[in-house]
Amino acid sequence: MFDWKWEFAWEILPRLVVATGNTLLAAGAGYAIALVLGLFLAIAQRSPSRALTFVVRELVEFIRSTPLLLQIFFVFYVGPQFGIRLSPWMSGMIAIGLHYACYLSEVYRGGIDSVPKGQWEAAIALNMTTLQKYCRVIIPQAIPSALSGMGNYLVGIFKDTPMLSVIGVAELIHTANAIGSEHYRFLEPYTMVGILFLAISLPAAGLIRLMEGRVRRKMGLK
Protein backbone atom coordinates (compact mmCIF):
# COMPACT_ATOMS: atom_id res chain seq x y z
CA MET A 1 0.00 0.00 0.00
CA PHE A 2 2.73 2.44 0.94
CA ASP A 3 4.37 2.85 -2.38
CA TRP A 4 7.00 5.56 -1.84
CA LYS A 5 9.85 5.51 -4.38
CA TRP A 6 13.01 7.22 -3.15
CA GLU A 7 14.64 7.01 -6.53
CA PHE A 8 11.80 8.95 -8.13
CA ALA A 9 11.82 11.45 -5.30
CA TRP A 10 15.52 12.18 -5.82
CA GLU A 11 15.00 12.46 -9.53
CA ILE A 12 12.32 15.16 -9.27
CA LEU A 13 13.93 17.06 -6.40
CA PRO A 14 15.95 19.47 -8.61
CA ARG A 15 12.82 20.54 -10.47
CA LEU A 16 10.99 21.12 -7.22
CA VAL A 17 13.87 23.12 -5.81
CA VAL A 18 13.80 25.40 -8.85
CA ALA A 19 10.04 25.75 -8.40
CA THR A 20 10.58 26.59 -4.73
CA GLY A 21 12.72 29.47 -5.94
CA ASN A 22 9.84 30.67 -8.07
CA THR A 23 7.41 30.33 -5.18
CA LEU A 24 9.70 32.36 -2.93
CA LEU A 25 10.17 34.95 -5.65
CA ALA A 26 6.41 35.23 -6.17
CA ALA A 27 5.76 35.48 -2.44
CA GLY A 28 8.59 37.98 -1.96
CA ALA A 29 7.66 40.22 -4.88
CA GLY A 30 3.96 40.05 -4.04
CA TYR A 31 4.69 40.89 -0.42
CA ALA A 32 6.91 43.80 -1.37
CA ILE A 33 4.11 45.25 -3.49
CA ALA A 34 1.62 44.63 -0.68
CA LEU A 35 3.85 46.26 1.96
CA VAL A 36 4.22 49.50 0.03
CA LEU A 37 0.74 49.67 -1.49
CA GLY A 38 -0.87 48.67 1.82
CA LEU A 39 0.77 51.60 3.56
CA PHE A 40 -0.60 54.02 0.99
CA LEU A 41 -4.06 52.48 1.32
CA ALA A 42 -3.89 52.84 5.10
CA ILE A 43 -2.75 56.46 4.98
CA ALA A 44 -5.27 57.33 2.26
CA GLN A 45 -8.01 56.23 4.64
CA ARG A 46 -6.88 58.93 7.07
CA SER A 47 -6.80 61.65 4.44
CA PRO A 48 -8.79 64.81 5.14
CA SER A 49 -10.53 64.27 1.79
CA ARG A 50 -13.78 62.45 2.51
CA ALA A 51 -14.11 61.30 -1.10
CA LEU A 52 -10.67 59.67 -1.16
CA THR A 53 -11.26 58.01 2.20
CA PHE A 54 -14.58 56.63 0.99
CA VAL A 55 -13.25 55.29 -2.32
CA VAL A 56 -10.24 53.61 -0.72
CA ARG A 57 -12.34 52.18 2.11
CA GLU A 58 -14.79 50.62 -0.36
CA LEU A 59 -12.00 49.31 -2.58
CA VAL A 60 -10.35 47.60 0.38
CA GLU A 61 -13.64 46.10 1.52
CA PHE A 62 -14.43 44.91 -2.00
CA ILE A 63 -11.10 43.20 -2.49
CA ARG A 64 -11.13 41.64 0.95
CA SER A 65 -14.61 40.26 0.36
CA THR A 66 -13.91 38.53 -2.95
CA PRO A 67 -11.71 35.47 -3.53
CA LEU A 68 -8.10 35.89 -4.54
CA LEU A 69 -8.59 33.28 -7.26
CA LEU A 70 -11.26 35.42 -8.89
CA GLN A 71 -8.99 38.44 -8.80
CA ILE A 72 -6.16 36.48 -10.42
CA PHE A 73 -8.52 35.31 -13.21
CA PHE A 74 -9.83 38.81 -13.60
CA VAL A 75 -6.45 40.45 -14.11
CA PHE A 76 -5.22 37.69 -16.42
CA TYR A 77 -8.28 36.89 -18.53
CA VAL A 78 -10.42 40.02 -18.40
CA GLY A 79 -7.54 42.47 -18.63
CA PRO A 80 -6.84 41.70 -22.32
CA GLN A 81 -10.45 42.67 -23.21
CA PHE A 82 -9.52 46.17 -22.09
CA GLY A 83 -6.23 46.04 -23.92
CA ILE A 84 -4.20 45.22 -20.80
CA ARG A 85 -2.18 42.18 -21.80
CA LEU A 86 0.07 40.96 -19.02
CA SER A 87 2.26 37.91 -18.57
CA PRO A 88 1.15 35.30 -16.01
CA TRP A 89 3.85 36.52 -13.67
CA MET A 90 2.82 40.16 -13.98
CA SER A 91 -0.87 39.39 -13.57
CA GLY A 92 -0.15 37.18 -10.61
CA MET A 93 2.00 39.77 -8.85
CA ILE A 94 -0.57 42.50 -9.38
CA ALA A 95 -3.46 40.37 -8.15
CA ILE A 96 -1.73 38.90 -5.13
CA GLY A 97 0.04 42.17 -4.29
CA LEU A 98 -3.20 44.14 -4.39
CA HIS A 99 -5.10 41.47 -2.47
CA TYR A 100 -2.58 41.40 0.35
CA ALA A 101 -2.13 45.18 0.26
CA CYS A 102 -5.75 45.43 1.36
CA TYR A 103 -5.21 43.05 4.26
CA LEU A 104 -1.97 44.77 5.23
CA SER A 105 -3.63 48.18 5.08
CA GLU A 106 -5.90 47.01 7.88
CA VAL A 107 -2.89 45.89 9.89
CA TYR A 108 -1.19 49.23 9.34
CA ARG A 109 -4.38 51.05 10.22
CA GLY A 110 -4.51 49.23 13.53
CA GLY A 111 -0.89 50.10 14.14
CA ILE A 112 -1.39 53.75 13.24
CA ASP A 113 -4.49 53.96 15.44
CA SER A 114 -2.48 52.59 18.35
CA VAL A 115 -0.13 55.59 18.26
CA PRO A 116 -1.35 58.00 20.98
CA LYS A 117 -2.93 61.27 19.91
CA GLY A 118 -0.27 63.16 21.82
CA GLN A 119 2.35 61.97 19.34
CA TRP A 120 0.49 63.67 16.49
CA GLU A 121 0.21 66.81 18.57
CA ALA A 122 3.91 66.79 19.43
CA ALA A 123 4.66 66.46 15.72
CA ILE A 124 2.45 69.47 14.97
CA ALA A 125 4.09 71.43 17.78
CA LEU A 126 7.44 70.81 16.06
CA ASN A 127 5.84 72.15 12.87
CA MET A 128 6.31 68.93 10.91
CA THR A 129 4.76 68.43 7.50
CA THR A 130 2.33 65.56 6.98
CA LEU A 131 5.06 63.51 5.30
CA GLN A 132 7.47 64.12 8.19
CA LYS A 133 4.77 63.23 10.73
CA TYR A 134 4.20 59.86 9.10
CA CYS A 135 7.81 59.01 8.26
CA ARG A 136 9.50 60.20 11.41
CA VAL A 137 6.91 59.85 14.15
CA ILE A 138 3.85 57.77 13.34
CA ILE A 139 5.03 54.89 11.15
CA PRO A 140 8.10 54.04 13.27
CA GLN A 141 5.75 53.63 16.22
CA ALA A 142 2.99 51.89 14.27
CA ILE A 143 5.25 49.20 12.83
CA PRO A 144 6.18 47.41 16.07
CA SER A 145 2.55 46.78 16.97
CA ALA A 146 1.76 45.86 13.35
CA LEU A 147 4.65 43.41 13.05
CA SER A 148 2.84 40.28 14.17
CA GLY A 149 0.02 40.93 11.73
CA MET A 150 2.50 41.69 8.98
CA GLY A 151 4.30 38.42 9.71
CA ASN A 152 1.08 36.43 9.55
CA TYR A 153 0.35 37.78 6.11
CA LEU A 154 3.88 37.02 4.92
CA VAL A 155 3.26 33.36 5.71
CA GLY A 156 -0.24 33.75 4.26
CA ILE A 157 0.97 35.13 0.94
CA PHE A 158 3.54 32.33 0.72
CA LYS A 159 0.83 29.73 1.16
CA ASP A 160 -1.42 31.48 -1.37
CA THR A 161 1.14 31.48 -4.18
CA PRO A 162 -0.16 28.07 -5.45
CA MET A 163 -3.19 30.01 -6.72
CA LEU A 164 -0.90 31.43 -9.35
CA SER A 165 -0.61 27.93 -10.83
CA VAL A 166 -4.03 28.40 -12.43
CA ILE A 167 -2.64 31.00 -14.80
CA GLY A 168 0.54 29.04 -15.46
CA VAL A 169 3.11 30.47 -13.09
CA ALA A 170 5.64 27.67 -12.60
CA GLU A 171 5.63 27.68 -8.82
CA LEU A 172 5.61 24.58 -6.61
CA ILE A 173 2.10 23.25 -7.15
CA HIS A 174 2.22 23.92 -10.85
CA THR A 175 5.49 21.97 -11.11
CA ALA A 176 4.23 19.14 -8.92
CA ASN A 177 1.15 18.86 -11.13
CA ALA A 178 3.32 18.74 -14.22
CA ILE A 179 5.57 16.06 -12.74
CA GLY A 180 2.54 14.06 -11.65
CA SER A 181 0.92 14.02 -15.03
CA GLU A 182 4.19 13.22 -16.82
CA HIS A 183 4.94 10.20 -14.62
CA TYR A 184 1.47 9.23 -13.39
CA ARG A 185 2.81 9.48 -9.82
CA PHE A 186 1.48 12.11 -7.42
CA LEU A 187 2.45 10.79 -4.00
CA GLU A 188 6.07 11.90 -4.09
CA PRO A 189 5.69 15.35 -5.70
CA TYR A 190 2.76 16.43 -3.50
CA THR A 191 4.35 15.08 -0.32
CA MET A 192 7.58 16.85 -1.12
CA VAL A 193 5.75 20.10 -1.86
CA GLY A 194 4.06 19.83 1.53
CA ILE A 195 7.39 19.30 3.26
CA LEU A 196 8.99 22.19 1.36
CA PHE A 197 6.18 24.54 2.39
CA LEU A 198 6.47 23.41 5.98
CA ALA A 199 10.25 23.75 5.94
CA ILE A 200 9.91 27.39 4.96
CA SER A 201 6.77 28.46 6.84
CA LEU A 202 7.76 27.20 10.27
CA PRO A 203 11.19 28.85 10.55
CA ALA A 204 9.79 32.01 8.94
CA ALA A 205 7.12 32.33 11.63
CA GLY A 206 9.78 31.83 14.30
CA LEU A 207 12.06 34.41 12.70
CA ILE A 208 9.27 36.95 12.58
CA ARG A 209 8.59 36.53 16.29
CA LEU A 210 12.28 36.99 16.99
CA MET A 211 12.45 40.11 14.85
CA GLU A 212 9.39 41.55 16.56
CA GLY A 213 11.10 41.47 19.93
CA ARG A 214 14.30 42.96 18.53
CA VAL A 215 12.54 45.82 16.75
CA ARG A 216 10.56 46.72 19.84
CA ARG A 217 13.68 46.75 21.99
CA LYS A 218 15.62 48.78 19.46
CA MET A 219 12.83 51.35 19.36
CA GLY A 220 13.02 51.72 23.12
CA LEU A 221 9.50 50.32 23.43
CA LYS A 222 8.77 47.60 25.91
Binding site: G118, Q119, E121, A125, L126, T129
Partner: protein, 271 residues
Protein backbone atom coordinates in the same frame (compact mmCIF):
# COMPACT_ATOMS: atom_id res chain seq x y z
CA UNK B 1 -19.24 84.34 4.98
CA UNK B 2 -18.18 85.87 8.24
CA UNK B 3 -17.58 89.58 8.36
CA UNK B 4 -13.85 89.99 8.82
CA UNK B 5 -13.82 93.77 8.38
CA UNK B 6 -13.11 94.41 12.07
CA UNK B 7 -9.83 92.52 11.93
CA UNK B 8 -6.73 94.24 10.55
CA UNK B 9 -4.45 92.35 8.17
CA UNK B 10 -1.55 93.04 10.50
CA UNK B 11 -0.99 94.58 13.89
CA UNK B 12 1.63 97.27 13.94
CA UNK B 13 2.92 99.96 16.19
CA UNK B 14 5.31 100.14 19.05
CA UNK B 15 3.33 98.15 21.56
CA UNK B 16 2.20 95.35 19.31
CA UNK B 17 1.58 92.38 21.56
CA UNK B 18 3.43 89.12 20.82
CA UNK B 19 0.16 87.22 21.00
CA UNK B 20 -3.24 88.68 20.47
CA UNK B 21 -6.58 86.87 20.67
CA UNK B 22 -9.31 88.97 19.08
CA UNK B 23 -12.91 87.92 19.72
CA UNK B 24 -11.92 84.27 19.56
CA UNK B 25 -14.78 81.86 19.87
CA UNK B 26 -14.60 78.10 20.15
CA UNK B 27 -17.44 75.70 20.65
CA UNK B 28 -18.02 71.99 20.38
CA UNK B 29 -21.59 71.56 19.19
CA UNK B 30 -23.71 73.53 21.62
CA UNK B 31 -20.99 73.75 24.25
CA UNK B 32 -19.18 77.08 24.11
CA UNK B 33 -15.64 76.66 25.36
CA UNK B 34 -14.36 80.13 24.62
CA UNK B 35 -16.68 83.04 24.35
CA UNK B 36 -15.32 85.99 22.36
CA UNK B 37 -11.97 85.90 24.08
CA UNK B 38 -9.79 89.00 23.92
CA UNK B 39 -6.31 88.50 25.30
CA UNK B 40 -3.04 90.27 24.59
CA UNK B 41 0.33 89.00 25.72
CA UNK B 42 3.32 91.27 25.39
CA UNK B 43 6.75 90.21 24.24
CA UNK B 44 8.72 88.74 27.11
CA UNK B 45 5.68 88.51 29.33
CA UNK B 46 4.92 85.45 31.43
CA UNK B 47 1.19 84.92 31.76
CA UNK B 48 -0.42 82.13 33.75
CA UNK B 49 -3.94 80.94 33.20
CA UNK B 50 -5.78 79.52 36.16
CA UNK B 51 -9.37 78.49 36.66
CA UNK B 52 -11.69 75.55 37.25
CA UNK B 53 -11.59 72.62 34.85
CA UNK B 54 -13.76 73.13 31.79
CA UNK B 55 -13.18 76.87 31.84
CA UNK B 56 -11.32 76.80 28.51
CA UNK B 57 -7.78 77.23 29.84
CA UNK B 58 -6.15 74.47 27.87
CA UNK B 59 -8.18 75.31 24.77
CA UNK B 60 -6.46 78.70 24.66
CA UNK B 61 -3.08 77.01 24.35
CA UNK B 62 -4.28 74.35 21.92
CA UNK B 63 -5.70 76.96 19.56
CA UNK B 64 -2.50 78.96 19.71
CA UNK B 65 -0.53 75.80 18.83
CA UNK B 66 -3.03 75.25 15.97
CA UNK B 67 -4.04 71.89 17.42
CA UNK B 68 -7.63 73.08 17.27
CA UNK B 69 -9.41 75.35 14.88
CA UNK B 70 -11.22 78.39 16.09
CA UNK B 71 -14.84 79.10 15.14
CA UNK B 72 -14.51 82.83 14.80
CA UNK B 73 -12.20 85.68 15.65
CA UNK B 74 -8.51 85.93 14.83
CA UNK B 75 -5.31 85.06 16.65
CA UNK B 76 -2.25 87.18 15.85
CA UNK B 77 1.30 86.17 16.68
CA UNK B 78 4.06 88.76 16.45
CA UNK B 79 1.67 91.09 14.67
CA UNK B 80 0.73 88.70 11.88
CA UNK B 81 -2.42 86.62 11.73
CA UNK B 82 -1.97 82.96 12.66
CA UNK B 83 -5.41 81.49 12.20
CA UNK B 84 -6.05 83.51 9.07
CA UNK B 85 -4.16 84.74 6.07
CA UNK B 86 -4.58 87.83 3.96
CA UNK B 87 -6.18 87.28 0.60
CA UNK B 88 -7.51 90.02 -1.63
CA UNK B 89 -7.19 92.60 1.13
CA UNK B 90 -9.19 90.51 3.59
CA UNK B 91 -8.49 87.81 6.11
CA UNK B 92 -9.55 84.31 5.16
CA UNK B 93 -9.11 81.10 7.21
CA UNK B 94 -5.51 79.88 7.01
CA UNK B 95 -4.56 76.89 4.92
CA UNK B 96 -1.96 74.33 6.01
CA UNK B 97 0.81 76.13 4.13
CA UNK B 98 0.13 79.36 6.02
CA UNK B 99 -0.06 77.54 9.35
CA UNK B 100 3.25 75.86 8.56
CA UNK B 101 4.89 79.20 7.90
CA UNK B 102 3.59 80.80 11.12
CA UNK B 103 3.65 77.90 13.56
CA UNK B 104 7.42 78.00 13.99
CA UNK B 105 7.04 81.00 16.31
CA UNK B 106 5.34 78.80 18.87
CA UNK B 107 6.55 75.91 20.98
CA UNK B 108 4.57 73.78 23.38
CA UNK B 109 5.07 71.42 26.29
CA UNK B 110 2.31 68.99 27.14
CA UNK B 111 0.88 67.51 30.31
CA UNK B 112 1.92 64.02 29.22
CA UNK B 113 5.27 65.11 27.71
CA UNK B 114 4.61 63.38 24.36
CA UNK B 115 8.26 62.62 23.75
CA UNK B 116 8.91 60.33 20.80
CA UNK B 117 9.45 56.94 22.44
CA UNK B 118 11.54 55.53 19.58
CA UNK B 119 14.17 58.25 19.91
CA UNK B 120 16.67 59.02 22.64
CA UNK B 121 16.47 62.26 24.61
CA UNK B 122 19.05 63.82 22.30
CA UNK B 123 17.34 62.55 19.15
CA UNK B 124 14.06 63.97 20.42
CA UNK B 125 15.67 67.39 20.68
CA UNK B 126 17.47 67.15 17.33
CA UNK B 127 14.44 65.96 15.39
CA UNK B 128 12.78 69.34 14.86
CA UNK B 129 15.95 71.31 14.10
CA UNK B 130 17.17 68.71 11.57
CA UNK B 131 13.90 67.77 9.89
CA UNK B 132 11.95 71.01 10.09
CA UNK B 133 14.52 73.79 10.36
CA UNK B 134 17.00 72.04 8.07
CA UNK B 135 19.99 72.36 10.40
CA UNK B 136 22.98 70.08 9.90
CA UNK B 137 23.23 67.19 12.35
CA UNK B 138 26.29 68.74 13.96
CA UNK B 139 24.59 72.09 14.50
CA UNK B 140 21.44 70.44 15.82
CA UNK B 141 23.50 68.28 18.15
CA UNK B 142 25.34 71.29 19.58
CA UNK B 143 22.12 73.19 20.09
CA UNK B 144 20.36 70.20 21.64
CA UNK B 145 23.21 69.31 23.99
CA UNK B 146 23.34 72.90 25.16
CA UNK B 147 19.64 72.80 25.96
CA UNK B 148 19.81 69.39 27.62
CA UNK B 149 22.57 70.87 29.76
CA UNK B 150 20.28 73.79 30.59
CA UNK B 151 17.50 71.48 31.79
CA UNK B 152 19.99 69.25 33.60
CA UNK B 153 19.46 66.22 31.39
CA UNK B 154 22.77 66.01 29.54
CA UNK B 155 23.82 62.91 31.48
CA UNK B 156 20.77 61.06 30.18
CA UNK B 157 20.94 62.23 26.59
CA UNK B 158 21.26 58.74 25.14
CA UNK B 159 18.34 57.26 27.08
CA UNK B 160 14.97 56.51 25.57
CA UNK B 161 11.99 58.17 27.27
CA UNK B 162 10.81 54.83 28.68
CA UNK B 163 13.92 54.84 30.86
CA UNK B 164 13.27 58.33 32.25
CA UNK B 165 11.07 59.49 35.11
CA UNK B 166 8.18 61.85 34.46
CA UNK B 167 10.10 64.87 35.66
CA UNK B 168 13.06 63.94 33.47
CA UNK B 169 10.82 63.39 30.44
CA UNK B 170 9.21 66.77 30.95
CA UNK B 171 12.59 68.47 31.12
CA UNK B 172 13.63 66.81 27.87
CA UNK B 173 10.32 67.94 26.37
CA UNK B 174 11.11 71.53 27.37
CA UNK B 175 14.53 71.23 25.72
CA UNK B 176 12.92 69.77 22.60
CA UNK B 177 10.50 72.69 22.34
CA UNK B 178 13.25 75.26 22.96
CA UNK B 179 15.46 73.70 20.28
CA UNK B 180 13.05 75.13 17.70
CA UNK B 181 13.83 78.65 19.01
CA UNK B 182 10.19 79.70 19.37
CA UNK B 183 9.19 83.23 20.28
CA UNK B 184 6.30 81.99 22.38
CA UNK B 185 6.38 78.99 24.70
CA UNK B 186 3.23 77.27 25.89
CA UNK B 187 3.13 75.11 29.00
CA UNK B 188 -0.01 73.02 29.31
CA UNK B 189 -0.30 71.72 32.87
CA UNK B 190 3.26 70.49 32.61
CA UNK B 191 3.41 69.38 36.24
CA UNK B 192 -0.05 67.81 36.52
CA UNK B 193 1.08 64.30 35.59
CA UNK B 194 4.13 64.37 37.83
CA UNK B 195 4.74 62.86 41.24
CA UNK B 196 4.85 65.62 43.88
CA UNK B 197 8.54 65.12 44.64
CA UNK B 198 9.68 65.79 41.04
CA UNK B 199 7.48 68.83 40.34
CA UNK B 200 10.25 71.07 41.65
CA UNK B 201 12.78 69.96 39.05
CA UNK B 202 10.42 71.02 36.25
CA UNK B 203 9.28 74.28 37.85
CA UNK B 204 12.92 75.21 38.49
CA UNK B 205 13.68 74.83 34.79
CA UNK B 206 10.76 77.09 33.90
CA UNK B 207 11.84 79.56 36.58
CA UNK B 208 15.26 79.65 34.91
CA UNK B 209 13.70 80.38 31.54
CA UNK B 210 11.76 83.31 32.95
CA UNK B 211 14.81 84.97 34.45
CA UNK B 212 17.34 84.28 31.71
CA UNK B 213 15.50 84.20 28.42
CA UNK B 214 13.40 86.81 26.78
CA UNK B 215 10.67 84.35 25.92
CA UNK B 216 7.01 85.09 25.85
CA UNK B 217 5.32 82.41 27.90
CA UNK B 218 1.80 81.29 28.45
CA UNK B 219 1.19 78.67 31.10
CA UNK B 220 -1.85 76.77 32.25
CA UNK B 221 -1.27 75.46 35.72
CA UNK B 222 -2.77 74.25 38.96
CA UNK B 223 0.38 75.18 40.90
CA UNK B 224 -0.88 78.42 42.38
CA UNK B 225 2.25 79.18 44.38
CA UNK B 226 4.44 78.64 41.34
CA UNK B 227 2.22 80.78 39.13
CA UNK B 228 2.25 83.53 41.73
CA UNK B 229 6.06 83.46 42.00
CA UNK B 230 6.98 83.65 38.37
CA UNK B 231 4.12 85.27 36.45
CA UNK B 232 3.87 88.85 35.33
CA UNK B 233 0.15 88.43 35.08
CA UNK B 234 -2.50 85.91 36.09
CA UNK B 235 -5.67 85.34 34.11
CA UNK B 236 -8.53 83.68 35.93
CA UNK B 237 -10.77 81.88 33.46
CA UNK B 238 -14.37 81.11 34.13
CA UNK B 239 -16.94 79.85 31.65
CA UNK B 240 -14.81 80.51 28.59
CA UNK B 241 -14.03 84.08 29.52
CA UNK B 242 -11.42 85.93 31.50
CA UNK B 243 -13.28 86.62 34.70
CA UNK B 244 -10.44 88.58 36.22
CA UNK B 245 -6.81 89.29 35.47
CA UNK B 246 -3.98 91.18 37.04
CA UNK B 247 -0.59 91.10 38.69
CA UNK B 248 -0.22 88.02 40.90
CA UNK B 249 -0.11 90.06 44.09
CA UNK B 250 -3.40 91.76 43.20
CA UNK B 251 -5.20 88.71 41.95
CA UNK B 252 -4.13 86.42 44.76
CA UNK B 253 -3.99 89.08 47.45
CA UNK B 254 -7.08 91.07 46.68
CA UNK B 255 -9.37 89.36 44.17
CA UNK B 256 -12.26 91.60 43.10
CA UNK B 257 -14.73 89.13 41.64
CA UNK B 258 -16.77 86.74 43.66
CA UNK B 259 -15.96 83.76 41.43
CA UNK B 260 -12.24 84.42 41.76
CA UNK B 261 -12.57 84.57 45.52
CA UNK B 262 -14.54 81.32 45.57
CA UNK B 263 -12.04 79.57 43.34
CA UNK B 264 -9.02 80.73 45.28
CA UNK B 265 -10.48 79.82 48.65
CA UNK B 266 -11.46 76.38 47.31
CA UNK B 267 -7.92 75.87 46.05
CA UNK B 268 -6.42 76.98 49.36
CA UNK B 269 -8.61 74.60 51.29
CA UNK B 270 -7.47 71.75 49.12
CA UNK B 271 -3.81 72.36 49.96
Amino acid sequence: MLDMSGFPLELSGENTPMVSFRKVRKSYGTLTVLDDLDLDINAGEMVSIIGPSGSGKTTVLRMLMTLEQINSGVIYVDGKPLTHMPKGGQLVPANERHLHSRRSDIGMCFQHFNLFPHMTALENCMEGPVQVLGLSKAEARDRSEELLELVGMIAKKDQHPSRLSGGQQQRVAIARALAMRPKVMLFDEVTSALDPEVIGEVTNVIRGLVSEHNLTMLMVTHQMGFARDISDRICFFYGGKIEEQGHPSELFGNPQRERTQQFLSAVREAV
